[in-house]
Symmetry: C2
C-alpha cells in the first residue's frame, strides 16, 4: 500500500542509545542524534516523538539489553567466574578507540535522577534488580565452593552493588584496564575467607 520505511527502527534506537550513553542527555543535541541514526529530522520526530521520549526509549532499551546480558553472563560455571565476567563486562570497551561508557543507569543517577522522577525511578529499580540478580549468584558460588565467605549472600550482593558505581566511575575517569581489573580483584577478595 504505502511506501515502506527505509530505516530499521530498533537499530536507530540502538544508535541513539549509544550517543545518550556516551554523552548524557544534556550533552546530546538533536544534531548528534540525527548524525548517529542517519535519520532525517521529520523521520526521527515521527518515529520517536520528542528528544525526551527518545531518551526514555533508549534508556529502557539499554536497561533491557543489560538485564539480558546479566542473565546470560551470570549463568556461567562456577558462579565466581560468572560474577567476575559480569563485572568485567562493565569496562569491556576500555582500551578501544572510544573512552569507556560505563553503565548508563549510573550515569543517569548522576545526571538526571536528582531532578527527574521518571529517571530516578528507573535508576532505583536498576540498583534493586542488580542486588536481586547478584544475590542468588553469590549463594550459588557459596554452594559450589567458588566463594568462601560465610556472610549472607544478600549482604555480599549489597557490597557488590555498592562497589559497582566505583568501577564505573574509574572507567569513565580513564583508568586503564589493568587498574580496573586490580580493583575488581581486590573487591572479590571480600567474597572469600
Amino acid at each position: 500500500m504505502s511506501r515502506p520505511q527505509e530505516f530499521d527502527t530498533p537499530e536507530a534506537l540502538r544508535q541513539a542509545m549509544e550517543v545518550f550513553w556516551r554523552q548524557g542527555y544534556e550533552g546530546t543535541s538533536l544534531t548528534d542524534l540525527l548524525a548517529a541514526t542517519g535519520l532525517s529530522k521529520s523521520s526521527l520526530y515521527a518515529t520517536f516523538g520528542s528528544k525526551r521520549d527518545l531518551f526514555l526509549a533508549a534508556f529502557d532499551a539499554y536497561r533491557q539489553a543489560r538485564a539480558r546480558d546479566a542473565h546470560r553472563l551470570l549463568q556461567q560455571q562456577p558462579a565466581r567466574e560468572a560474577i567476575y565476567a559480569f563485572f568485567h563486562s562493565l569496562f569491556a570497551n576500555v582500551n578501544t578507540d572510544q573512552p569507556a561508557l560505563g553503565c548508563m543507569s549510573i550515569n543517569q543517577a548522576v545526571e538526571l535522577a536528582p531532578h527527574d522522577p521518571q529517571v530516578r525511578e528507573r535508576v532505583v529499580q536498576d540498583l534493586h534488580q542488580l542486588e536481586e540478580v547478584l544475590t542468588p549468584a553469590i549463594a550459588r558460588g557459596q554452594q559450589d565452593g567458588s566463594l568462601t565467605s560465610p556472610r549472607p549472600a544478600r549482604e555480599l550482593a549489597r557490597l557488590l552493588v555498592l562497589a559497582f558505581p566505583g568501577l564505573q566511575v574509574m572507567a569513565r575517569a580513564g583508568y586503564s584496564s589493568q587498574e580496573l581489573d586490580e580493583a575488581l580483584r581486590l573487591l572479590f577478595t571480600h567474597l572469600d575467607s
Copy 2:
C-alpha cells in the same frame, strides 16, 4: 581611587559552585549562574572569564573545601568514628529541602571527565588523594583498636574508595538517610574481623 567592587568574589564563586554541583556543567546556564550569584553579566565575565573558566574555578574551590573537610573530620578519635563521620558528610544534606548533591568530583567523573582532559586529571587526582588520606586513618584505627581487620590499610582504603561513588550514586538517586546509613554500616563491617 576607583569604585570598589560591590560583591564578594569568593562568596560568588561559592554560589556558582553550588549550582554546578547540583546541576552539572551542561545543565547550568549563564542565567542560572547570574541568578545564583546575583552578579550582572558583565561583572561575572570580568571577574571569572568564561563559563568554563568559572566552572574550573568553582570545581577547584570545591575540591579545596572538601580536602579541608576531610582533613578536619579524619582527625577525630577514635579513627573509626572519624572515617565514619567523613563518609557520612557525603550525604549530610539528605532529607533537607534540596535533593542530595553527592560529591562533585564523582559527578564530574561521569559528566565531563570522559571527554575533557582537564577535568579527568582532577578527578583522578581526587580519587588518589582520597586513598592517600584514608590509608593513614585506617592504619590509625587498626592501632587504636577501633578497626580490627588484619588487611593492609591501603587495601581497605581502596575498598572504601571503590565504595565511595556507590554511596554518592545512592544519595543522588534519592535513597533515604536510613538506607544510606545502612549501606555505610555494611561497608564498615568489612573493616572488621
